[in-house]
């Protein structure tokens, strides 16, 4: 992990200034003015990538997994690299069995299908990279890529990020055969919904754990304070008891109980957050087959699409 961070830090600081090695597992970085505010106004950083290296360099800042500096770097890097257009020229689907592959995944009972000629077509997608945070008693973060087909609204979480390694960003777009029916905002909406649905099980598990723990503590608190109040109230019947004083104590105990319960409420809650951190337009070829789908008297034109990257088929209606 350390080597990974060291290599990455070298690449990162080279994009925002100058980097020089400063001994074993340590670097010096001179920062461009534009990014200095992120680093507390500093223009120079001495970074060590292991505690031993930090010890060797008395003024070095330790940069390792978990370091707050890594968060700052992530913020700067994201601000400088959050939008791109990829043409994935490595994706070269084959034709011939497109409808067969789609129908293996999608059932169309009672439909009569009439097919046209299979073709490869360029599709444009919006890739949304979300940071997902579940914050309850602990905080768990993860990244999720959701890709939305801007022609049909089809969305997937199965996009292989490795595909982005083989691309050609210089080519310009060819005109898509399908009309772009989806706006970016609509795609964003679709992506967040898809993401939310995919997280349901995880969220439910967290919530159940939290609810169970909260209930147990609430029960303890209530029992504890109710027993105290009962004991205080019982004291009223004692000879020489001062009921006003006892009432005041009961009130104070109730206030304390409220405070504790409020405290529990605040501690035991799950906050679900998503942040869009990066976005890419991703264009690549897919195999398509025009269809006429007839069910009873109704005839609908459509297209069957096979996405070889995520190995998923889907159908899209065509406007008549």
């Amino acid at each position: 992990m350390t080597d990974g961070i060291a290599g990455l830090a070298n690449r990162f600081f080279a994009t925002v200034g100058l980097v020089e090695p400063a001994g074993y597992l340590a670097i010096e970085a001179l920062l461009d003015e534009s990014v200095q505010p992120y680093f507390g106004g500093r223009g120079y950083l001495l970074l060590a990538f292991s505690p031993e290296a930090a010890y060797e360099h008395a003024h070095a800042e330790l940069l390792t997994y978990g370091s707050p500096l890594l968060d700052v770097m992530a913020e700067v890097a994201t601000a400088r690299g959050n939008a791109i257009h990829f043409y994935l020229n490595s994706v070269q689907p084959t034709t011939g069995r497109t409808l067969e592959k789609v129908r293996a995944q999608i059932r169309l009972p009672g439909h009569l299908l009439e097919t046209g000629e299979e073709r490869l077509m360029m599709f444009h997608h919006a890739l949304f990279r979300f940071k997902v945070s579940l914050t309850g008693e602990e905080r768990e973060e993860l990244f999720r890529d959701v890709v939305v087909d801007l022609h049909t609204g089809w969305a997937t979480l199965q996009f292989d990020e490795q595909a982005l390694r083989f691309y050609n960003a210089g080519e310009r777009a060819v005109c898509p055969e399908l009309r772009l029916g989806y706006g970016l905002r609509q795609a964003y909406q679709t992506a967040t919904e898809k993401l939310g649905r995919s997280m349901v099980a995880q969220v439910n598990t967290h919530e159940e754990q939290i609810r169970r723990a909260c209930r147990a503590e609430q029960r303890q608190v209530v029992e504890h304070y109710q027993a105290m109040i009962a004991r205080l109230e019982g004291g009223k019947t004692r000879k020489g008891a001062d009921p006003e004083r006892i009432d005041a104590k009961v009130r104070a105990t109730r206030t304390d109980q409220e405070l504790r319960l409020k405290d529990l409420e605040r501690r035991y809650r799950l906050i679900r957050e998503i942040t869009l951190t990066q976005m890419a337009l991703v264009s690549y070829l897919k195999a398509t087959v025009p269809l006429r789908m007839q069910q009873g008297k109704e005839v609908k034109p459509g297209v069957a699409i096979w996405d070889s990257l995520v190995r998923e088929g889907y159908l899209a209606p065509l406007k008549q």
Partner: protein, 674 residues
Amino acid sequence: MIFPLPEIYSLPLNQTVIDADHILLPLELARLLPSQAELDIGYAGKAKVTRQGEILSGKGLVKRLSRLGNLLQWSRDGDRLQVRGIVLGERKDTTERADEGDWVTVTDPSLLLERVWRGDFSPAENFSIAREIADLSVKPGFDQLLSFGVAQGVTVYPHQVNTVRTVLRRMRGRALLCDEVGLGKTVEAGLVMMEYLLRGLVKRILILTPPSLVKQWQEEMAQKFNQDFVISGSAEFAATGTEAWSRFPRIIASIDQAKRGDHLSRIKGTRFDLVIVDEAHRLRHRNTEAWKLVNELDKKYILLLTATPVQNDLDELFNLITLLRPGQLKTATEFRKQFVVRGDRLKPQNVEQLRLQVSQVMIRNRRSNTGILFTRRRANLVGIEPTHEEMQLYQLVTGMVRQLYSQDQAPLSRFTLKTLQMELGSSPRAVASTVERLLQDNPPLSPRAQLQEILELSRGIRYSAKLTALQKTLSSLRGEKVVIFTRYLATLHWLRESLGDYSTMVYHGGLSAREKDESIARFRTDAQLLLSTDSGGEGRNLQFCHIMVNFDLPWNPMRIEQRIGRLSRIGQTRDVYIFNLSSRGTVEDRILEILDRKINLFELVVGELDLILGRLGEEKDLEETIMELVGTSHSDEELRERLGRMGEQLQETREQYERVKSLDDAIFGEVVGD
């Protein structure tokens, strides 16, 4: 244009403001609006839009809008216009956010959507680096601990890893940490704190300690965890007034200060995400201000640290646990009925059941269950008969100190007098060095003559009985590596000159980091002796050496403990031998007697001294108390008698500590983490 125009417009607030009550809408949006459209500013109110796209409103429009955020997002809904505020540039404080049923979008996506729509793309390398760094910065659940990587100069032991995991997971950040002394409770608390901080679960932290430990906590948090805390007694804090409690995010306070008058109401009204209370046995009584204060603090997580949770009464345990989790041990009456033998408030019954209940919130690691090798410390007193000249110098300086100490407006400060008196216990060279400096300042006639005499006498001493004793001690050690500690630089240089036959390295606060490293490295490999002052060496690893000499003795036992701690710490594989050089009849000789015989300082376990001294009271540290006795005693006999009384008190405190320790061992045994 491939992509449709977004329906939403975003503009920074400061680009739309004309003046405080007057705002201009984005033109393309204004064109779409009928005149006199109504603007809905959410909870900030409503306003009218003119034909030119200007919004006119009553006073404070901009202020009201700025409450929504620094980026305003306008959207059209038929004839109505809606505005939503977004905070850009800083992450929203999730710990303060109210719970919401659905996903919360932390930042508004509009800007990024617009950027993509405009085709304003980043270089591919930047995009790829951003993805990789983001992947590394992602915060996992507590299965994977992050703090070990960021703690500096800290060796984390398995029992500490278990403790941290247990506190985070099973105890949900509310725990009583009762490890035996020397097993690193502070480090455990620091690691838990870092786990929360690194995940953004904690922002505001309050550490409550006894006054004598405030500074130590501040240093440890800075050195080990790179966290800056402000001390509640500092000038910076005082200058901010009572607001300081809510203004500073990380505060270390003495509990005595926190519970005082105006501070109390402020501190109670402030929300803290994490509260750490050191020496938490001070909260054992439910009716004390300290207990009430901690009970009423608005806090999310709380860690109570003590090696001795029960001191006089099992109710103390109940009170501590109630601070963490009320009801865990039911009510006080039920607790007593179930777990305390009737008629003996210190004797537990149903011990196994009690341990089970307590283990839900308490961790107590014992040396025996850590698997760490702890070696012994062995102290040796090297008594020295001072020469006639040395004794003469001693009498002269002590006489002057006594004479001037109680004088109003004395020509020499009490600090200077204390320094001279302490240097006297070190070497004539140290005394001479200070006196030379004092004479350069041209002091008044009265001490000048005395100082002159002291200078001549100290310079004239050619034979040092202490140095001879040191040389004899070293030759008896037959080439073993030895660290020789002295308080004073002048003594260190003199010793280096005088020990020319030995290969010697020096180590003091005046060296650069590189020189310090080199010095330690050469001592490790080549040199036999390391001459070291007390300053600047706490973090350096000297466990490869197991013999030390106290050439002079600090009056503050904590400093002695720190010296010993540089050799005798986890990782030392041999017993540590401590040679204390002491000239008979001097103040140091009596202090040594007290520390060695009365509290057995040199053989205490690391951390126990804190507990013993902590029981003495808080007003002054021992060094100040001793100087007060030296300066105000009229004769050596009187001083001996007064120091003797202090020794009795220390002995009593130590015995009390031993009783409590045995009691806690009997009740809890070990209650370990997962």
